[in-house]
Amino acid sequence: MIPEIGQLALILALLLAVVQGTLPLAGAQRGVKAWMALSRPLAAGQLLFVAVAFLCLTWSFLGSDFSVVNVAKNSNSQLPAHYRIAATWGSHEGSMLLWVLMLSLWMQAVSIFSQSLPREMLSRVLSVMGLISVGFLLFLLLTSNPFERLSPPAAEGNDLNPLLQDPGMVAHPPMLYMGYVGFSVAFAFAIAALLGGRLDATWARWSRPWTTAAWCFLTLGILIGSWWAYNELGWGGWWFWDPVENASFMPWLVGTALVHSLAVTEKRGAFKRWTVLLAICAFSLSLLGTFLVRSGVLTSVHAFATDPARGLFILVFLALVIGGALMLFALRAPHVGGGGRFEMISRETFLLANNVLLIVAAGSVLLGTLYPLVLDALSGGQTKISVGPPYFEAVFVPLMSPMVFLMGVGPVARWKQAALPELWTLLRWAFAVSLASAVLTPLAAGGGSWGLRLGLFLAIWILAATVASVRERIRNFRGAVHERLAMQPRAWWGMTLAHLGVAVFVAGVTVVGTYETERDVRMAIGDTVEMGGNVFRFDGTTEVTGPNYRAARGTVTVLRDGREVLVLHPEKRTYNASGMAMTEAAISTGVLGDLYVSLGEPINARSWSVRIYHKPLVTWIWSGCVLMALGGLLALTDRRYRLRSTQQQRETAVTSAA
């Protein structure tokens, strides 16, 4: 009964979405107020029905209703309750439902927080989002019904993929989808602006907070995914350039460019066409990512059940949405006037340069991701290659290095026209400090690669240049330093924090890449291995039983100067239902570095192959991402946005009173 209610709710949501995608849009074109007024209640209705459907699915998972195919395939009666809830989005069908739920949530958020927008604009935005919703709801109902019944019901479920049974995996998809789907708001704003012919600084100010919010979620989503891979895959890596990772990274790169480009459009009225194209691209890449993951055109560790019918559906959807948007862009862009003028040396130029670098980087990731497919297609299925980390690293470092360097210059450069001598005066100390540390640190550490020097230089450069920009920023204010600091708007603080996040990230990547050590050894009980001043002693394994798995639990004692400082328990689990073996690494996390131990294979009754890593500063990688996301959140709370909304509420109140 419950699954049928869910199914019905989805169909009702689809009907509402169809109306939402058409009537308010037509109303905005023809000026019919009654049609436009439908957009907000329709958005609320859609959220209601999609939420009901989602809860019905969760209910089926919680109650282990194995008469539902989706539940039978992705859950098990032994699965702990919190993973049963997470299993709701562990399958293809469930995760698409989650996607639609996120879309409805964003739609509702726009409907609540953007009431001050002109009626036409709001109707168009919600209508465009409604059309996207139609596509995904149809996709769910036609090709990936999460509520399909199984007759006769299965006695027991297949269990959730053990790889997904991890706290990181519970949070990763919702965060990532919030980001992906969040770009649909920027996209909808761009399309609405193109349709209405109103592409100006106001449009940029409206879409800015939405874009920043989506970007924050995407940053966190990617970060959690990376952290999960580090914890769960057992070989200590944090990024693999897997096609599916790339699929989330490309919208992030374009989204980052968009966040900055919107700032220029809002403040200076420049880059309008460029910004609107970025808004279209960011969401298009999110959709493309979905296509790549769901259609099975690329091989990836993210093994979703793939189905050509689904692939074809998404491809047609992509063609309509992206093709339509780009067509509209081609028609309308020539009529968009140019923005404020600026000189060769100005903040605009630096931001534009960084924008271009980010886009080229995104393009090269796209190329690397799709190259195997293109070659396969051109050769008629005869040439199979895979593009791996060497390509991406070779392309990425040269592109990102100048970008990171310019990140230090941009915030201190003046809008419109800046002077190089002035910039040099402001930044010479920062430059000297970062150069010195890049030269001296490897000397002190007894050698290092050029990569290390470059990474250190860039990390310290951002840090020092940020300090310089803070000093320059508060120079013209009066009062004590902390008062002057407190006077700065939160949006500016957000930017500063996010940039510091990049510094922390670069430092982490550089140091872990240079100084990590790894030993893959065979250890019998009592054997010891020395690594970086720590002695690891293998004390054997014991059998333990989890709720839905059995495991060999190893004990590895870490000794420093002969004293026991730490006991680690890596596990090798075998899940009951699937028989899949999983490596659960034991990690001791520290600010300066992680000790990472994972069990390989048993060699005989007394010995195992054991992998031991020392990863200095590895947590800085994720901390840097957290700082970037926090920076975005801080910018979102800027007074400007709140002031404007209260001010406009007052205006609305006055008009309605009159």
Binding site: F291, V297, L315, G323, A330, A377, G381, Q382, K384
Partner: protein, 175 residues
């Protein structure tokens, strides 16, 4: 020419490649063994370890070699299909029991049914290496001259069986 059409043009090219890509299977790696003679080996039979089996004895017949193991989860998926195939077709199916314990393997067959004309035990996986096995199950179609004509990576599916394997066997048996 409207330069604002460029993004649309680029997207259409991409769309074309994605469309072609849908029909290709990235997992279908062409095996270098196709068109080559089947690797020679001699292994003990699973049920009668005293007797050896060698592909040479299959000359003049079209046969299938299926790599399987009792520890392999996907083998369970394809197993009913193989059992059905063995029941309805007179083609010999030789099982290469890959890196398995003979006891486990025999129990597995006793429980799920035995579609194999005979199985051989490749305890240490040496023969598997000669066949380029990197995922179990894998299935090879071998012709009367002892040449490998087709390789299925992963479980045999109904589609693969009806669409590729059976037509190929029919063609080879006539030739």
């Amino acid at each position: 020419m409207n330069r604002f059409l460029l993004p649309l043009g680029a997207f259409l090219v991409l769309l074309g490649f994605l469309f072609v890509g849908l029909k290709l299977n990235p997992r279908e790696v062409p095996s270098p063994l196709i068109g080559k003679p089947v690797p020679e080996f001699t292994l003990p039979q699973l049920h009668e370890p005293a007797q050896a089996f060698s592909p040479r004895s299959m000359r003049g017949r079209v046969w299938l070699l299926n790599v399987w193991a009792s520890w392999c989860v996907s083998c369970r998926d394809e197993h009913p299909l193989l059992v059905e195939f063995a029941r309805s077709h007179p083609v010999a199916v030789v099982g290469l029991n890959y890196k398995d314990k003979p006891g486990d393997a025999q129990a597995w067959l006793a429980q799920l049914g035995n579609p194999y004309t005979l199985s051989v035990s490749d305890l240490d996986g040496r023969v598997g290496i000669d066949f380029g096995v990197y995922g179990v199950p894998e299935t090879f179609v071998i012709d009367k001259q002892g040449v490998i004509r087709y390789k299925q990576i992963g479980p045999v599916t109904t589609d693969a069986l009806q669409g590729k394997i059976l037509p190929l066997i029919r063609e080879l048996e006539q030739g």
